[in-house]
């Protein structure tokens, strides 16, 4: 009789989910599935609301990455107004987006994944957490806190508060950057830079301890997707949308992000609330692709800042096959943190950043608007339609975690098949299946637009649907 293993809740992620592992009668794994068990329906909530409320409304989707939603939503509203955001306004938005990426990546790396990386995948769950890490590796913990604070402080300086700032508005931003705040941002750069460089210095040599995990943590070729600059470099705010082959070469000519609907379909399965976006040309489910830091760094020409480019060059010493392992999301995240700090320094060092012309004003000039930006976890798409009174009649959001849904499911199947054999499964092996999900840093509140508790769980089920083993950690 075949059986199923369930991990429920999956821990140290942003959201509530469950993993089910379907077992064959001979004790081998048939398939693993990531079930997203929360639902919110933000698209419906905003119907009938004035379009200019959308950035603030959409930011409420998530307390971790509200800035990402603010940016994409404001860009969709810019398109409704048909205005060009003043250059300084766009650059200020870019700073806040980068600060968001730095703080979010730091939370993922240090607080959610570092316990596995520094204390070991085999450590007992009771001692494999951030509090244990604080005792055993205080400098790493301090660096994680310093980088979180760096990003959050910039968001607070620009937006007036850390969570749900209403500073990014349709047409630009609501207030310019003051010289005092500019100087305060510049003063925080050296400490943040030291923290991420110190982290890269211990992380890279540690990779040799994880050869087995690198080999089976969602290590398979997929397409990659994300924004790039017109010259094909790293881009988080604007640019062109690229679909790339595993080796990073474009699958087709880069397109305007507003055309995403021509290339992305969304499939639905009855066992999860999270949709499955796929590359239309390859159909479902073959049109699997990945987004986020790993995809971005695997497909861009260069980062465009000196220290991050040096790190990218070292990262690219890996073969294309090795770079397909989702384990390397961790490395890519650190390089993007370094890039974010460098780029913020570059932008705020320009005297023009204090220009006070930061917002364009207009009435709606179009009935449909699309905004696309890069969130920490990948490409974020907001698509709105309004009536003649500027009220929202329809909206659709495609969130980074959704883009990765096919890859996450295939990834946990690969890891489960490698680590699980028979029905007596030690916890460290289940932790490795969970850790595959953590490499993507999924934000399930965002991707289902759901709210509530954050954990996941794992279940083993036989071919008749009977639960034979369950691991639950709240």
């Amino acid at each position: 009789m075949s059986k199923t293993v369930t991990i429920d809740p999956v821990t140290r992620i942003e959201g509530h989910a469950k993993i089910t592992i379907m077992m064959n009668d001979d004790g081998t794994v048939d398939e693993a599935r990531l079930h997203i068990t929360q639902f919110r329906g933000f698209e419906r909530i905003c119907e009938g609301r004035p379009f200019y409320e959308m950035p603030s409304l959409m930011a409420r989707i998530c307390g971790i990455c509200p800035v990402s939603h603010l940016v994409a939503s404001a860009k969709a509203c810019d398109a409704l107004l048909a205005v060009a955001v003043p250059e300084t306004g766009a650059r200020l938005r870019r700073i806040m987006n980068l600060a968001q990426i730095v703080q979010s990546h730091s939370l993922s790396f240090f607080h959610l994944s570092a316990p596995d990386l520094l204390l070991g995948m085999d450590a007992s769950p009771a001692s494999r957490n951030i509090m244990a890490l604080v005792s055993s590796h205080p400098q790493a913990a301090k660096d994680g806190i310093a980088l979180r604070r760096f990003g959050q402080h910039i968001i607070e300086l620009l937006g007036g508060k850390r969570i749900h700032p209403a500073w990014i508005v349709p047409g630009g931003v609501s207030a310019p950057l003051t010289q005092e705040h500019r100087d305060e941002i510049l003063a925080t750069i050296p400490e943040a830079m030291e923290a991420v460089q110190r982290t890269l210095a211990w992380f890279k040599p540690s990779l040799k301890k994880f050869r087995e995990e690198i080999g089976v943590f969602a290590n398979f070729p997929t397409l990659l997707m994300g924004l790039v600059t017109p010259s094909g470099d790293l881009e988080h705010y604007d640019g062109r949308l690229r679909f790339a082959k595993p080796d990073g070469t474009p699958r087709m000519e880069d397109v305007a992000p507003e055309r995403f609907n021509e290339f992305i379909g969304e499939a639905v399965e009855d066992w999860t609330y999270l949709k499955f976006p796929y590359f239309l040309q390859d159909g479902y489910p073959d049109g699997i692709y990945r987004v986020g830091p790993l995809a971005r760094l695997n497909m861009v020409g260069r980062c465009g800042t000196p220290l991050a480019d040096a790190e990218l060059e070292e990262y690219r010493q890996l073969s294309v096959e090795e770079r397909m392992s989702s384990f390397h999301y961790h490395w890519a995240r650190l390089i993007e943190v370094l890039y974010g700090i460098e780029r913020i320094k570059e932008i705020v060092s320009d005297p023009d950043i204090l220009d006070t012309h930061v917002r364009a004003h207009a009435e709606p000039n179009r009935s449909e608007g699309i905004g696309v930006s890069e969130a920490p976890r990948g490409t974020l798409m907001h698509h709105y339609k309004i009536d003649e009174n500027g009220l929202i009649t329809w909206s659709n959001l495609i969130i980074a975690t959704g883009h990765n849904n096919l890859a996450m499911n295939k990834g946990i199947t690969q890891a489960a098949k490698h680590y699980i054999s028979g029905f007596d499964i030690p916890e460290p092996l289940l932790n490795r299946v969970e850790a595959v999900i953590r490499t993507y840093d999924p934000c399930l509140s965002c991707s289902t637009h759901a709210f509530g508790q954050m954990p996941i769980r794992m279940q083993m089920v036989d071919s008749k649907g009977m639960v034979v083993k369950e691991v639950s950690r709240q």
Binding site: R12, L112, N129, M131, A141, R148, R473
Partner: protein, 143 residues
């Protein structure tokens, strides 16, 4: 007055869940020297830096209990932090272990009545806020 950090935790979009932030707002209008305030939706790790810079920290949050609780709290190194959510005790442990700081710490748990998706406190919550303000005043005056 001791260098004091008052942290108000909660969402202003969920009625009485905003009791912590409302208490902070009330305290901020008094212009007390030595009092620093912060409003947060959740307790996140970087708060440990602010805690470490304080001689006293007071966490104010809405509670589901009927009675207001004003209690001394201590670092809790055994607290679980499986996501970005931290408990006051876990944050005190971070401040202690990483920055060698042991500020006096208190929690004011303010009884909330309604937590629906709505702005503004309930009538019961508004009364509780006044009680919490008295409790906060007593704490601050106890130097």
């Amino acid at each position: 007055m001791k260098r004091t950090l008052l942290v108000g935790c909660g969402s202003p979009l969920r009625e009485d869940d905003a009791l912590g932030p409302a208490l902070v707002e009330l305290a901020a209008t008094k212009g007390l020297s030595g009092l620093t305030t912060k409003v947060v939706h959740q307790l996140t790790p970087e708060l440990a830096i602010d805690i470490a810079a304080s001689e006293r920290v007071i966490f104010a949050d809405a509670s589901m209990h009927r009675e207001m609780l004003v209690d001394r709290i201590k670092p809790d190194a055994g607290a679980s932090a499986e996501s970005h959510l931290y408990t006051p005790g876990a944050l005190l442990a971070l401040a202690d272990t990483l920055y060698n700081a042991q500020p006096e710490a208190w929690i004011i748990a303010i009884p909330g009545h309604s937590f629906e998706l709505r702005q503004g406190l309930s009538v019961v919550g508004t009364c509780a806020l006044q009680q919490a303000a008295v409790a906060l005043g007593n704490l601050l005056a106890a130097d």
